[in-house]
């Protein structure tokens, strides 16, 4: 039996959130005395796939079929189930994302397995019981859930585990499952990708702006700090509603939920709906001219002052400390 991890590929390499999924799966495998297998689909660099071993995987099943390079949760789930059957997997791990959730759900329905999403910690396994902790109410609470079905599909949230990469490499084996035409009925007519390659869900650091930025033309200093930090940029809901920033940057309860190591909020007052999208962050810095901004209560570090004066100084300090 083996714990099976479905990984997402970006530019031919394993995404960071998927590396965490591998590390999580490897830990679960250790508890269950099982091996750790990774499933990678579509065009990918073989040397990059072997690095799954750094995170504890022993084997990578790779179907390089170009039909699988474009995101397709229907086909991915069909292939994942075949891999699970071949490997005799009772536990399947994925990183939570739009794609991860869809693949997890469809695979679970095929396998009549439970699917638990938003898992924040390693499971507790004892005497035949398998319990996981998951985030609910958009991070305002947690639920501990006993997973009763024989096969378990687990979608883990970013930072559910801190990987400690080694130099080990996994063996990469070709995998040629059957594909069904019925999984390829959609035609993708156009893809728009943001110019920055850093995705919010994958980013370790996020610099985010709110209405206190006063207008879309003022984002320069924020972007410069983000660049110096190697951070992704985000925004609050009012800012995306006003079209100052694209919708896919909207962080909050009804936008993207993020869990970076560091979240820097510039000119965001901290409405409860915004906090719900960032409360998985390890450290929060709030910069705001209003000392009464509720966000300070949720922050680890705060600066009261003019963001346009402070941001360039922070950028300089980051550059100087290199």
């Amino acid at each position: 039996m083996s714990v099976l991890i479905f990984v997402e590929i970006d530019n031919g390499t394993i995404k960071k959130t998927s590396q965490e999924a591998i590390a999580y799966g490897a830990q679960v495998a250790q508890m269950l005395n099982a091996s750790t297998t990774v499933l990678a689909l579509g065009q990918a660099d073989e040397a990059a796939l072997a690095t799954a071993g750094n995170f504890g995987a022993t084997k990578v099943l790779h179907d390089a079929n170009d039909k699988l390079t474009q995101e397709n949760s229907l086909a991915y789930a069909h292939v994942l189930v075949q891999a699970a059957q071949q490997e005799g997997s009772k536990v399947i791990v994925l990183a939570k994302s739009g794609l991860g959730d869809a693949v997890a759900a469809r695979a679970a329905a095929k396998l009549q397995a439970s699917v638990v999403s938003n898992i924040t910690d390693l499971p507790e396994i004892s005497e035949g019981t398998f319990k996981v902790k998951r985030s609910i109410y958009t991070g305002k609470a947690f639920a501990t859930v006993e997973v009763q079905s024989e096969i378990k599909v687990l979608a883990i949230r970013k930072n559910a585990i801190e990987p400690e990469p080694t130099d080990e490499l996994a063996t990469v084996e070709p995998f040629s499952p059957s594909l069904r035409d019925s999984d390829f009925v959609a035609t993708i007519t156009q893809v728009e990708k943001a110019s920055s390659n850093l995705s919010l869900t994958d980013a370790d650091i996020i610099v985010s702006g709110g209405r206190g930025m006063k207008g879309p033309e003022n984002w320069g200093p924020l972007e410069e700090l983000a660049k110096a930090l190697g951070a992704a940029t985000g925004c609050s809901k009012p800012v995306s509603d006003l079209d100052w920033r694209p919708h896919h940057e909207h962080i909050g309860q009804t936008g993207i939920k993020v869990a970076p190591n560091l979240y820097i909020a510039c000119g965001i007052s901290g409405a409860i709906q915004h906090l719900a999208g960032v409360n998985g962050s390890k450290y929060i810095v709030v910069i705001n001219k209003d000392p009464e901004a509720p966000f300070f209560k949720a922050a680890d570090y705060g600066i009261v002052g003019d963001i346009f004066e402070i941001l360039p100084r922070l950028t300089k300090a980051v550059e100087a400390s290199r």
């Binding site: 995101e71 949760s73 229907l74 739009g98 959730d101 869809a102 693949v103 759900a105 469809r106 679970a108 329905a109 397995a113 439970s114 699917v115 999403s117 319990k131 985030s135 609910i136 109410y137 958009t138 609470a141 947690f142 639920a143 501990t144 006993e146 009763q148 079905s149 979608a155 019925s182 009925v185 959609a186 035609t187 993708i188 007519t189 893809v191 728009e192 990708k193 943001a194 995705s199 930090l229 919708h247 896919h248 309860q253 009804t254 560091l262 709906q273 409360n279 390890k282 450290y283 709030v286 300070f296 949720a298 570090y301 600066i303 003019d306 402070i310 100084r313 922070l314 300090a317 400390s321």
Partner: protein, 245 residues
């Protein structure tokens, strides 16, 4: 065209979350309930499609009778009839089986719901339902037009947008800006009272998960304030104290 819109009945977005019964039950005291905000977008788009393309819109809720006001609100916004599966929505799999069962019985061209429920945030019900019905599912959908038997949609992908075309029937998880939320008008509220709300009993599902307990996040420690004139010291603290740089 027949459209099914699945709605959840959830605490409003500003609700303070607490638990009772030794942290095994959600504390409903003082909580006001709303249609899940993402479901509200799905409903609004369904009502628009009804006007532009001609369709019937059925609202479905898996839940107990205390959600009826939200179902009536959906009818007031423009749905034609409603079904409530009379059961506590215990987990995603349970809810998906109920939705799939209703969908198989009645046959819909389009099944819309929010990208995730606001209480359990799993975001898996559309995928489960799609697979149970053997039809495609997409989420989160931000734009949807129907051209004959083809859906033209845009969905959010990591760091961007993807446009695709797929044949009906489909299951879609929706989010803004697919439509603007609709506020029921007086005429809608009056007619909603007499629209059919059929209460049906759930089909049996083997239990997949069991909720053991709830917990709240540990309270955040004091925020360390840095004077604006010493802003640069933040970088040092992030490096040396928090160790995140």
């Amino acid at each position: 065209m027949k459209i099914l819109v699945c709605i959840t009945n959830v605490p409003d977005t500003t609700a303070k979350i607490t638990f009772t019964d030794n942290n095994t039950k959600f504390n409903k005291a003082g909580i006001s309930y709303i249609i899940g905000p993402y479901d509200d977008y799905a409903l609004a788009r369904a009502v628009e499609l009804k006007e532009s393309n001609g369709a019937t819109v059925t609202v479905l809720n898996v839940g107990e009778a205390d959600g009826d006001p939200q179902i009536r609100k959906a009818l007031a916004i423009g749905a034609d009839d409603a079904i409530r599966v009379n059961a506590e929505p215990t987990d995603s799999y349970f809810v998906a089986v109920q939705i799939a069962h209703i969908a198989k019985e009645n046959g819909y061209d389009l099944i819309l719901m929010g990208r995730e429920s606001l209480d359990f945030n799993s975001g898996v019900v559309h995928g489960l339902v799609g697979e149970m019905l053997g039809i495609p599912s997409y989420s989160p959908v931000m734009k949807l037009d129907i051209d004959g038997t083809t859906a033209k949609l845009a969905r959010e992908i990591d760091g961007g947008k993807e446009y695709l075309e797929a044949p009906l029937p489909l299951v879609l998880g929706c989010q803004e800006p697919i439509a603007e939320w609709k506020i029921p008008n007086m005429r809608g509220i009056m007619t909603a009272r007499t629209k059919p709300l059929n209460v049906v009993e759930p089909v049996e599902v083997a239990s997949m998960t069991n909720l053991e307990s709830y917990s709240l996040p540990a309270p955040k420690g004091e925020c360390k304030m840095i004077p604006a004139e010493e802003a640069e010291s933040l970088i040092t603290l992030l490096r040396k104290e928090a160790r995140v740089l």
